[in-house]
Point group: C2
Amino acid sequence: MGNAVRLGVAGLGTVGTGLIKIIEKHQSRIRSAAGGPVEVVAVCARDRSRDRGIDISGFRWFDDPIELAQDPEIDVFVELIGGEDGVTLDAVRQALAAGKHVVTANKALLARHGTELAKLAEEKAVGLGFEAAVAGGIPVIKAMRESFAGNEIKRVYGILNGTCNYILTKMEEEGRTFDDVLKEAQSAGYAEADPSFDIGGIDAAHKVALLASLAFGTEVSFDDVYIEGIENIELADLESAAELGFRIKLLGVAMKTDSGIEQRVHPAMVPLHSAIAEVGGVTNCVTVEGDFVGDVMLVGPGAGEGPTASSVVADIIDVVRGTVSAPFIRPASQLKPYKRALMRAHEGGYYVRVSLEDAPGAFAAVAKIMADEGVSLESIVQRRPQSALPGIDARDEAGGARQVVMITHPTYEKAMRSAIKAIESDPHVDKTPQMIRIEKL
Amino acid sequence: MGNAVRLGVAGLGTVGTGLIKIIEKHQSRIRSAAGGPVEVVAVCARDRSRDRGIDISGFRWFDDPIELAQDPEIDVFVELIGGEDGVTLDAVRQALAAGKHVVTANKALLARHGTELAKLAEEKAVGLGFEAAVAGGIPVIKAMRESFAGNEIKRVYGILNGTCNYILTKMEEEGRTFDDVLKEAQSAGYAEADPSFDIGGIDAAHKVALLASLAFGTEVSFDDVYIEGIENIELADLESAAELGFRIKLLGVAMKTDSGIEQRVHPAMVPLHSAIAEVGGVTNCVTVEGDFVGDVMLVGPGAGEGPTASSVVADIIDVVRGTVSAPFIRPASQLKPYKRALMRAHEGGYYVRVSLEDAPGAFAAVAKIMADEGVSLESIVQRRPQSALPGIDARDEAGGARQVVMITHPTYEKAMRSAIKAIESDPHVDKTPQMIRIEKL
């Protein structure tokens, strides 16, 4: 194995452990795909003695990932530590500077420092692979880099966070509240003790920032992602959505508009009878819309030991074969500055749920506000007092008030925000109206 | 453009025309991805003067694809003629023998001669790209070759023929018969005048043969594909399927079993609430099941000018970059002989619909036959006389007979075939029972 490509693996959590298992189990398969042997020679983690169910005694041990990154005896630095700054960033910088390929599953790191790291990789003519950073086992990065290279991409969107999708699926299927399902997900290990990163939409936003750069040839700009999480989604919304032929998903969307690029993460209505609506539980999906290829959707496990490690291996094979494209398709020096389309200029349909006092003129007041803002309504339904979902009475949640749900014709977010503000201060209205965007698919 | 990679395009139908449009529109995009300019220099088609909506006056014209294939002034031979033998096969052989890369969308050619052509390509160290041959714009070949290279594939399956999926979707949505929808599809151009190739399952079988080889490292063996088309699917089956929580799709499946490899194309029941069930109309999908990555589904347009040409361009970029893998992943000389698992040994659940005389003991006789064959039933429903679909009365189709639908527990095809034969000859039974396999997802 004198000519084996030598991997240094930093981080032996779920993904690192999975990687070592794949390389062990599929040695000959990987050798054949890579055109030569690939072996792990050195590892680094916090705790050397922890039982991971794999034998790491054959690998050189490093306490410091930065030392591992600079080790002259490795060819590829596999970063599976996590974290967007600090030692992780330093280690990746050092590895690239030392002329080593880097393969990482770290979306936060790349969302923050993607452009810089891509430039560094290109200066040194090494690969920077991050297939595992977006949607786990789904090969969307390679598809965008290579398969759709002959297309102008108009939009890329998907379900990019398994925790959120799991919670929304459970709420709808079992008629349970957000808090209830979240607690269960936490005790089952599907959600972190501090879940804000997932349910607040930040994790999905990291991925959107990477997809936007790949799609539009712009610098990675995480700070420009508009983010709303799923914390405010109520059962009443899931029920109303279903009645109106929709399902609610937390979507991450990157799209080109006349005024710039929209990067956004927010709950959105998708058609009930569509493949994306049936992507349930922790499963992820990404749809890429190209001008020639049309819409291609990729669906699969967005996280987990096997799927994520599978993508890491694919990247390793590519860097070994020398076939890695520029990290963000175009040379990093040619990435254009990101031009943000303001969210207020967003155009689309909206779902609005208002909790109204049961008094004459209450709805007329709301309707007038919408009309004054130039928003026209496609449909209006008063929710049935008895819930469509098991075990829930819509009146319980709203405290006896009428729930009126409106679907608007396409309009501007600016108008909607003004309307919502005005509706909220109307004396007939019980609480803050719910507003959910409808994603046109 | 002295160093441009020169394409010779044989065939200027839908895909060839689309290819020339993409190369014209996205010249700089393709140049950047390919690492240099790519240009069409010569073309070949049946009729030089036909208006294709593109200007071909700048390309050298060939009447004979074999001459084009051997032309010293081209680097890549793009075969978009179609046909599994004759001049197409000769042209591809000649192009490879002359050391030119070949990119093709021709599933029939590869299903018949894939192993031979892969060997020829490898002898000459040239690329043989056929992303466009399976599921049009869906990048499943690259995903299997590269993204899932670190996985043992257990099964690959999907909706591989848009015409069949369109017909089944329309039948169900509009409550119309097979013949009725087929006629409409033919006049709309979605189905050929002689539709047997599509609806008989042969087109899907070509794709299955290629997917099987990629998945299992075996020689391409089209003759070993078990094929059933959708000709015998009745509205009563679509209705019963929906009542039982299923939808009927024509699936192409390649899977490893204990006794060998199953390659099969047949109508199959899939769960009604699943993403694959919502893949409607002419859309295709392919699911790859890997031991580490899990199940990844790719959904998209399976045919058409833009999508197919997009995949052709992706292959061209790969051959230009020199990054094409072996056509069937392993070196062609190392592909194992195909070992067929007999269809009689197939294991799974079955849907059976029997048209029974309304007489005492009629169902008891059927039940006894099933029991005698060791087939146990998971559920039995007598179809409601009134159809669940609009405009159809189930009694019309069955001529007043009772329709009894059974879902079996997993069993062997051999037992089912014996049971069906025995049921068919029972005096209480009106006509040949319907048997549809349930695909376990």
